[in-house]
């Protein structure tokens, strides 16, 4: 087996045991990137590779020197008989939205094309402290604003390794693509409305969005501060647990980080699902899309194969002793996207105010005066998505509005949270441990198919966004392929800080399908090179 097909846990154990050198692991990872990634995304977007449409394009930049030094440090530790960490020698890619000292952190925007961060994000620091090798920065939608990766200012943006004519999803599309294409076994992503889970589902990998506050946000360039969560993308559930283990915990630099003790997630995986109460909800059977003429919601059912995969998963778990509770009402799920439009746009518009051309990043060279500097820097520095979101956010938070939309949306967020509280209430009618849902309404769409319709693109997040509103943990795991050989993802959601439960349920499902036929199929991008 090639090194790049090893799981993170296997790599770390082999490295610690002296069976595999971190430096060799790094070489293998870099070789895979050279083989499958093609041109990295860049501002001029000039492809040099005739095969560019068949490539993954997960990366924006490599941090090879840093990774090399980290590998040498790990190998030296192992040679000295020291503990080299839970992620000893594991190559990790970082969504290019995390600050990493002395490297360019672009947020996939022209606005930060030359921004060298003077500090390192807490989550990234914890990965490095655990022996991980930071291989490079991967692509994303500009400032994480999107669900397809297409809005990146760094083109070519990532493709879906399963079919490179399709999008990898977003915004952590580069992360999902890098993991699916075996470039790195782990990637650090972020999830604001589904930005880890949706691309993970599209690319057939595992994606975990932890509870809000479980992993520090310090150093994550903020999209919507009250929703953002860093989290792992990996090829199996155990690796997601391992990466979470390393990154979880309180951080004095982030007031919203939780001070609750971090449980042993790897141990939690050892437990089965006997007696676990897993719910299914009719409110996750389709997406509710408001008809802008009538104001009524129209229900568009989820893709049949995805619905079937979800029900199959329920059956698998029932066979292992889980109790399946059907018809759990989650009536406010349909307001998830409208509320998200308000909260995330207002917060995003505010967070982007600091991009003014004065201190760092892109700036116009020939500004006539201060106003001209601001206007032209932001006009030329931002792509269409940031502009749309700034406009929408400014409009919604304008003092002239009679309604305080932010406050109103916060109230509806409370109602969405209440749906989950009732479902998980230990003395309530449902007493769920976890909710099982599709991760996405469809499998990965074709490039350019949805891009350009910001509203429709946003509705791709309806299955995932309520979890962000409520601050809960949720995981997506691969659950088959559709008739076009595109991956299907299913999602487990649990109560606050019960990452252990979603990991357990996902792990049990994964282990019960290890021999499934669809697991033998390799992504298209790997078939030619490996």
């Amino acid at each position: 087996m090639r090194y790049t097909q090893l799981s993170a846990n296997e790599i770390a154990q082999k490295v610690q045991a002296g069976e595999l050198k971190a430096s060799d692991m790094l070489d293998a990872s870099l070789a895979q990137i050279r083989a499958v990634d093609g041109d990295f995304g860049s501002l001029d977007g000039q492809a040099t590779d005739p095969e560019t449409d068949k490539k993954v394009h997960a990366f924006i930049s490599l941090t090879e020197e840093m990774a090399r030094a980290q590998a040498q440090a790990v190998d030296a530790k192992v040679a000295n008989g020291e503990d080299a960490g839970l992620l000893a020698g594991v190559p990790v890619s970082i969504k290019d939205i995390f600050a990493l000292e002395n490297t360019v952190t672009t947020a996939a925007s022209r606005m930060l094309h030359n921004y060298r961060a003077p500090y390192t994000a807490s989550a990234v620091q914890k990965l490095m402290d655990a022996g991980a090798l930071i291989v490079g920065k991967v692509n994303l939608d500009e400032f994480t604003f999107g669900s397809s990766n297409e809005s990146s200012a760094y083109q070519p943006a990532s493709n879906n390794p399963w079919n490179t004519a399709h999008v990898p999803g977003g915004s952590s599309g580069g992360s999902a693509a890098a993991v699916a294409a075996e470039e790195t076994p782990l990637s650090l992503g972020t999830d604001t409305g589904g930005s880890i889970r949706q691309p993970a589902a599209f690319c057939g990998v595992v994606g975990l969005k932890p509870s809000y506050g479980r992993i520090s946000r310090y150093g994550l360039i903020a999209f919507a501060s009250s929703l953002d969560c860093p989290g792992p993308l990996s090829r199996n559930v155990e690796d997601a647990a391992l990466m979470l283990q390393v990154m979880a915990g309180a951080d004095e630099r982030d007031e919203s980080s939780a001070t609750l003790p971090v449980p042993n997630y790897l141990e939690a995986l050892q437990q089965d699902v006997k007696g676990m109460r897993i719910g299914l909800s009719p409110d996750y059977a389709g997406i509710a899309y408001p008809n802008h003429k009538t104001g009524e919601f129209e229900i568009i059912p989820v893709q049949e194969e995805i619905k079937q995969a979800t029900l199959d998963a329920a059956e698998q778990l029932a066979r292992q002793g889980a109790e399946i509770i059907e018809n759990v009402p989650m009536p406010h799920t349909r307001y998830g996207i409208p509320v998200y439009f308000v909260v995330s746009r207002i917060e995003a518009s505010s967070n982007l105010n600091r991009m003014d051309g004065v201190k760092y990043g892109f700036t116009v060279a020939d500004a006539r005066d201060l106003q001209d500097l601001y206007k032209r820097t932001r006009t030329e520095g931002f792509g269409p998505q940031p502009k749309l979101r700034i406009l929408m956010g400014a409009y919604l938070s304008a003092a002239s509005k009679k309604v305080n939309y932010y406050q109103l949306a916060s109230q509806v967020r409370g109602m969405i949270r209440r749906d989950f509280e009732l479902a998980f209430e230990p003395k309530g009618a449902y007493q769920l441990d976890a909710l099982l849902t599709p991760t996405t309404p469809t499998t990965a769409f074709k490039r350019a198919e949805v891009f350009g319709d910001s509203v429709l693109m946003q509705y791709a997040d309806q299955m995932t966004v309520s979890v962000n509103h409520a601050g809960l943990p949720a995981i997506t795991v691969p659950a088959g392929l559709d008739n076009k050989n595109l991956p299907i993802g299913i999602q487990f959601i649990a109560n606050h800080f019960r990452e252990d439960i979603v990991l357990r349920a996902a792990h049990a499902y994964e282990q019960s399908t290890l021999d499934a036929v669809w697991r033998k199929v390799r992504p298209m991008a790997l078939q030619e090179v490996n």
Partner: protein, 478 residues
């Protein structure tokens, strides 16, 4: 000419004297530091950073609220106020709009004529300071050292009626801030900044007319002058048939002139919303009570008590309570020598204040502690040393740190109170001055002073004056 009334409200920015900035670990004080040397990723607004609240700023803000008789908010919340300016690195200021740290409150002004004037507080909240910009060689330079320094913004109701009242307010606020220890309140260093809103109306009217805002009135004299001048301008304008327009004016303290900065056309849209990166600031009942309990006796209460309890004059009480450390020093000394508050007061008012001025130290910073002062006063009262020696002892104790008794011993400064040895010396002096003795005995009793002087000269001032006189009277009787 009609009679006019001047309406003034003051907006003050108070820099809290915390150790670190309000949302990061940088030092709060960067006076005279090179530009941009006291900064970090957080206070320069790097992408991805998060604020974390300095608890000391909350404590000091709440203490100020207590001192202003405001209600301390048990759950105050930070908001973002958005605008673009180069000295504002995040493009928004973290401040409090909807749930500020203090609600309501007032400051009672003790006017020189003895009247008490209550000035109500309209709002009081915590916020971060911005950096500074300046023009240099035609370029706008930004210095973010001051960015993130904790401020309390405090705005009065339009309760002040003259430049003089405004000056009184600022002066007494400054005293209060120093007294409770929340701010150095040094106006020259920008610890206490002030903008003034000024309007006029005909006497008897209750309407509020268009006001102008004067920026940068950053000394007590400036406040008095600028407001007086602006009110005069408005009155003359209205009298000549003009109309006051809503201007922002800039005060130039060097020329003593007001100049127009810009006309204010409607409020800017700051798009306030709750700061999602900070948790609500929760203060329990017990914490609020503890903050209130830690509030020291305020200057005016202490002043009144000094007059009543120690029978000090109003003037002495005012001087002794002009600074909290000074009044504490006085009370500590009085506690050690309870029968003589007036004597202690005299020493404080004259020699101690001179000693502090000469050494540049505050009462707290003196080597000479209240106990040593009391020891010196007792030595004089007990006739062990004379007053002049006592005064010189103050300086010597301050310089050497030795106790007064030790210095008296080492330098033989004690009075000669031994009657036998003194009698012998006086006999010798009288024997050497037969003419004067004869003249005295002949009725020229005014020579007594001369004899005392001779004794003092011979003993280098150390003779106990009372005993000297007694012996002289006895020996000259014959």
């Amino acid at each position: 000419m009609k009679e006019y009334e001047i309406i003034v409200g003051l907006e003050t920015h108070i820099q809290l004297n915390t150790e670190t900035k309000i949302f990061c670990a940088c030092k709060a004080d960067s006076w005279e530091a090179e530009p941009n040397t006291n900064v970090c990723p957080v206070c320069t607004g790097q992408p991805g950073v998060l604020p974390r609240l300095n608890a000391e700023a909350v404590q000091k803000g709440a203490l100020l609220a207590a001192a202003m008789h405001a209600e301390i908010n048990p759950c105050s919340i930070f908001d973002r106020k958005h605008y673009f300016y180069p000295d504002l690195p995040k493009g928004f200021q973290i401040t409090q709009l909807f749930e500020p740290i203090g609600k309501g409150g007032y400051l009672d002004l003790y006017m020189p004529d003895g009247e008490i004037k209550r000035v109500r507080i309209n709002k009081m909240h915590l916020e971060e300071d911005a950096g500074k910009t300046k023009l240099e060689h035609g370029q706008r330079m930004v210095d973010l050292n001051r960015g993130g320094v904790p401020l309390v913004e405090m705005v009065t109701e339009p309760d002040l009626r003259s430049g003089e009242e405004a000056a009184q307010y600022l002066s007494q606020l400054r005293e209060l801030l120093r007294w409770i220890g929340v701010s150095e309140a040094d106006m020259e260093r920008g610890h206490l900044r002030c903008d003034a809103n000024v309007s006029i109306r005909e006497k008897g009217s209750t309407a509020f007319n268009t006001k102008t805002e004067i920026k940068n009135v950053n000394s007590i004299d400036s406040v008095r002058q600028a407001i007086t001048q602006e009110a005069k301008r408005q009155i003359e304008l209205v009298e000549s048939g003009g109309k006051v327009e809503q201007y922002t004016l800039d005060w130039d303290a060097d020329t003593g002139k007001l100049s127009m900065m810009r006309s204010k056309e409607g409020e800017a849209d700051y798009r306030y919303f709750r700061e999602p990166d900070l948790q609500p600031v929760i203060l329990s009942n017990a914490e609020i009570e503890a903050i209130k309990a830690s509030l020291p006796e305020l200057p005016y209460a202490r002043r009144r008590r000094f007059v009543e309890e120690y029978q000090l004059s109003a003037y002495d009480a005012e001087v002794l309570t002009s600074e909290r450390g000074l009044s504490d020093y006085f009370e500590e000394a009085v506690a050690l020598y309870a029968k003589e508050p007036k004597t202690i007061s005299n020493w404080m008012m004259n020699d101690m204040i001179r000693l502090m001025n000469d050494t540049g130290k505050s009462a707290k910073g003196l080597v000479l502690k209240p106990a040593a002062l009391v020891e010196i006063v007792k030595l004089i009262d007990d006739g062990k040393i004379n007053a002049a020696t006592g005064k010189s002892l103050l300086v010597k104790v301050e310089q050497t740190g030795k106790s007064p008794a030790t210095i008296v011993e080492e330098e033989s400064l004690g009075l000669i109170a031994d009657a036998d040895s003194l009698r012998k010396q006086i006999e010798t002096i009288l024997a050497g001055a037969p003419n004067e003795v004869a003249a005295y005995r002949g009725g020229k009793e005014t020579l007594m002073g001369w004899f005392v002087g001779q004794v003092m000269r011979a003993t280098r001032g150390k003779a106990d004056p009372k005993l000297t006189r007694e012996i002289l009277l006895e020996l000259l009787k014959d």
